[in-house]
C-alpha cells in the first residue's frame, strides 16, 4: 500500500517501538495478567495518546490515520497494550476533545493526551450491552451536583483510570433521549471499584466493574448538553470502531508474520512448509484479507479526518477486520500444528486476544445491522 512519506516514517518509528519495546513484554503481560505501567508511560512520552489532538491540548497534532497506524503497530506485538491504548485514546481522549468545553479540555484532555492520567469509558451495563438505550445508571441533578447511581461492567482500564467518561440517564424510561455523558474522577466518594474480570485474552489489560452509590459529581462535569449522551457515544463509537478495527488488524498481521516465519523455517518430509501449495493458498488468503481490512480502516480514518460521514465505513472496517482476524489467528495456529497450542509460541495468545474484537464496541451482529441500515437508507 502507498502511504505518504509522513505516514511511512511514522509507521517505521512505531514498528521499531513495537518490535523492540512492546513485543518482548507481551508474553509476560499475558501470563502474569500484568498491567503494562511501563509501556503506558513510554507511549505517553512518545506522544501517542493525542495523535489527532491539537498541540495546544497536549496532543501531537497529527491525524486519525496516524492513530490507526499506531494502534495497529502496537497490537501487532501485544493486544493487551493495544486495547489499553485504543480505549484510553478513542474512548476517553476523543469524547472530551469532541464534546468537552474549554475548561473541561484544560482540566482533563491535556493530562489524558499527555499520558499523565489514564482514561476510561463507562457505557456497558449488566442489562445494557448492544442496546445502549437500556442504560439503567441514573444521574439526578440536585442543586449543583449530579448524583450517580448504578453499575457499569466490562470497563477497560476501569480500576486504574483517573478519569472516566460515563453515560447515565435522568430517567431510564426515556430511552436514548434521557442519556447524558459525564466525567467522573477517581476517588470521588460513592465511586466504588467492583470486581476485576478474569478473561480469556487481553489478560494484560484491566477490565472492571464500576459501582456508583450516590456518587456526587459537580454539575460542570456534564459533557455537552443534557440528553447529548447518545449522540456523544455514537460519535465516540464511530471513532472507537476505527481503533478496534486497527487493533484487530494489528493482531491479524502479527499472527500472519509469526505464521510466515514458522512455515519458512519448518519442513515436512524434507520440504519446507512454505513450498507446499495448500499452505501458500492459506497464506495468500489471509494476506489478501488483511490488506483489504487495512484499506477499509484507513479509509474510515481518512473520512474522519475529512469530517465526512463514516458510520458505514467504520462499521465495515471493524466488522471485517475482526472477522478476518479470527480467521488469521486460527490459521496461524493451524500452520504451527500442535506447537501452535503451546505457550512456547505466541499464536495461541493472538487468537485469545483477537476474540474480543468481534465483541467489544458493538458485536459483529450489531455492526452488520448498522451497515444494513446505512445501505437500506432508513
Amino acid at each position: 500500500m502507498i502511504l505518504s512519506e509522513k505516514h511511512l516514517a511514522f509507521r517505521e518509528k512505531l514498528k521499531e517501538f513495537s518490535d523492540n519495546v512492546v513485543a518482548p513484554r507481551a508474553k509476560d503481560l499475558d501470563l502474569n495478567s500484568e498491567f503494562p505501567h511501563d509501556l503506558v508511560k513510554k507511549m505517553g512520552e512518545m506522544d501517542l495518546y493525542g495523535l489527532f489532538v491539537p498541540k495546544k491540548y497536549g496532543g501531537a497534532g497529527l491525524d486519525t490515520l496516524s492513530y490507526a497506524i499506531a494502534v495497529e503497530e502496537v497490537s501487532r506485538a501485544c493486544g493487551s497494550t493495544g486495547i489499553f491504548f485504543a480505549a484510553h485514546t478513542s474512548l476517553a481522549v476523543a469524547p472530551i476533545y469532541q464534546a468537552g468545553n474549554e475548561s473541561q479540555k484544560q482540566k482533563w484532555l491535556i493530562p489524558l493526551a499527555k499520558g499523565e492520567k489514564i482514561g476510561s469509558f463507562g457505557l456497558t451495563e449488566p442489562n445494557a450491552g448492544s442496546d445502549a438505550s437500556a442504560t439503567e445508571t441514573t444521574a439526578k441533578l440536585v442543586g449543583d451536583e449530579y448524583i450517580i447511581n448504578g453499575t457499569k461492567c466490562f470497563i477497560t482500564s476501569g480500576h486504574v483510570a483517573d478519569v472516566i467518561v460515563l453515560t447515565a440517564t435522568k430517567d431510564p424510561s426515556l430511552g436514548y433521549q434521557g442519556i447524558s455523558a459525564f466525567v467522573v474522577e477517581k476517588g470521588t466518594p460513592g465511586f466504588i471499584l467492583g470486581k476485576e474480570e478474569d478473561k480469556m485474552g487481553l489478560r494484560g489489560s484491566i477490565t472492571s466493574e464500576l459501582i456508583f452509590e450516590d456518587c456526587k459529581i459537580p454539575r460542570e462535569n456534564l459533557l455537552g448538553e443534557e440528553g447529548d449522551g447518545f449522540k456523544i457515544f455514537m460519535q465516540t463509537l464511530d471513532g472507537g470502531r476505527i481503533s478496534i478495527g486497527a487493533l484487530a488488524l494489528g493482531i491479524a498481521q502479527g499472527a500472519l508474520e509469526y505464521a510466515v516465519k514458522f512455515v519458512k523455517s519448518h519442513s515436512i518430509s524434507n520440504k519446507l512448509l512454505s513450498r507446499q501449495q495448500s499452505i501458500q493458498s492459506t497464506i495468500a488468503e489471509i494476506g489478501t484479507e488483511i490488506e483489504a481490512a487495512r484499506l477499509l480502516i484507513y479509509q474510515a480514518a481518512e473520512l474522519k479526518d475529512a469530517g465526512r460521514p463514516l458510520t458505514k465505513e467504520a462499521a465495515m472496517g471493524k466488522y471485517y477486520a475482526s472477522l478476518i482476524g479470527m480467521k488469521a489467528t486460527n490459521t496461524a495456529i493451524e500452520l504451527h500444528g500442535m506447537l501452535g497450542l503451546t505457550k512456547e509460541y505466541p499464536v495461541e495468545r493472538f487468537i485469545r486476544d483477537e476474540k474480543l474484537m468481534e465483541i467489544g464496541e458493538g458485536t459483529s451482529e450489531i455492526q452488520k445491522i448498522v451497515i444494513a441500515r446505512q445501505i437500506l437508507g432508513k
Binding site: 460521514p309 446505512q374 437508507g377 432508513k378
Partner: protein, 257 residues
C-alpha cells in the same frame, strides 16, 4: 449567438427513500446523490446544438453551494465555455423570486442572445425562476419549449400545451426559453472533454457582486411532510395462475367486471 444556461443541482429522489430533516422544512440529503436538474440538461444540450450551428459562446450559471461546481464542470465538459457559481451560502433562504433577482443581477453585465433554463426543477417543482427572470430582464420569453429554430434576430419556437396542443411562437431576441425534456437527446461528456473541463476555472461570485435591493423573499416553507398513507398496496403472490385468479376476484368484488 451567445447563450446563457441557468442550471440547478438537485438531489436524485426518484428511487430514494426520502425523509424529512430535523428542521421540518427540508429533506435529509446526506445519503442522496446529486445531479444536474433533468430539464436543465436538455437546455444545455439545446444551447450546444445552436452553438455548433452558429458559433458563439455558452455560459452556464448556477446558484448553489460548493458541490455545485461538480455539476458546472460537467456542463463545461458537455460544451459550455464559461461557468459561474453564485455562492448560495451568501443568501439565507431562497424562493423562485429571490433566485431570479440574484440571477438577474449576476447576468446583467453579460452579453447574450438567448437565455435557457429548464422548465421545472425536480426538487421544488416551482417552475418560477425562468419566467420571472425574463420579466425582470424585460425580455420576451417562452415556456415549455419543445423545438427552437433561430436566426440572428428572431427565434421560432414550439411550446407544449396541455391536451397534446403545440403553440408556435415567433419571438425577437434576446429572449428566454424554459426548455422541456425530450427536445433533444443530451449527450454524454467524452473523457477528453471531462479532463479539460476538470482543469477549467469556475468563476465564483458572492453577495458583494449581487445588487442587494429587491432581494425579497416572497414565499417561505412552513412545513414539509410525507403525507400519511391512505391506501395500502397489495402484492398478489403465487404462481401466475393463482395471482391471476386473485386479481379476477378483486375486479369482480369492486364491480369492474
Amino acid at each position: 449567438m451567445d447563450i446563457i444556461v441557468c442550471i440547478k443541482r438537485v438531489p436524485q429522489t426518484a428511487e430514494a427513500d426520502v425523509t424529512i430533516d430535523s428542521s421540518g422544512k427540508d429533506i435529509e440529503k446526506d445519503r442522496l446523490s446529486f445531479d444536474m436538474n433533468e430539464s436543465d440538461s436538455y437546455a444545455l444540450e439545446e444551447a450546444v446544438l445552436i452553438k455548433e450551428k452558429f458559433g458563439g459562446t455558452i455560459t452556464v450559471i448556477s446558484l448553489g453551494h460548493q458541490d455545485t461546481e461538480d455539476t458546472l464542470r460537467i456542463a463545461l465538459a458537455k460544451g459550455a465555455d464559461n461557468a459561474i457559481r453564485i455562492k448560495a451560502e451568501d443568501f439565507d433562504e431562497l424562493d423562485g423570486y429571490k433566485t431570479a433577482q440574484i440571477l438577474k443581477s449576476a447576468i446583467s453585465d453579460l452579453n447574450y442572445d438567448l437565455i435557457f433554463t429548464g422548465c421545472i426543477a425536480t426538487d421544488d417543482a416551482y417552475s418560477q425562476v425562468g419566467v420571472t427572470l425574463a420579466e425582470l430582464l424585460d425580455i420576451p420569453h417562452a415556456s415549455l419549449v419543445i423545438n427552437i429554430d433561430t436566426s440572428e434576430k428572431r427565434a421560432h419556437v414550439h411550446r407544449e400545451l396541455e391536451g397534446g396542443l403545440t403553440e408556435h411562437l415567433d419571438i425577437s431576441l434576446p429572449a428566454l426559453c424554459t426548455i422541456q425534456t425530450g427536445i433533444n437527446e443530451p449527450r454524454y461528456a467524452s473523457l477528453i472533454a471531462i479532463r479539460r473541463a476538470a482543469k477549467k476555472e469556475i468563476k465564483v461570485i458572492g453577495k458583494e457582486e449581487i445588487e442587494k435591493e429587491n432581494l425579497l423573499l416572497n414565499t417561505q416553507i412552513e412545513e414539509l411532510f410525507i403525507p400519511p398513507k391512505t391506501k395500502e398496496i397489495e402484492f398478489l403472490t403465487g404462481s401466475p395462475a393463482e395471482s391471476a385468479s386473485k386479481l379476477a376476484k378483486i375486479f369482480k368484488e369492486k364491480g369492474l367486471i
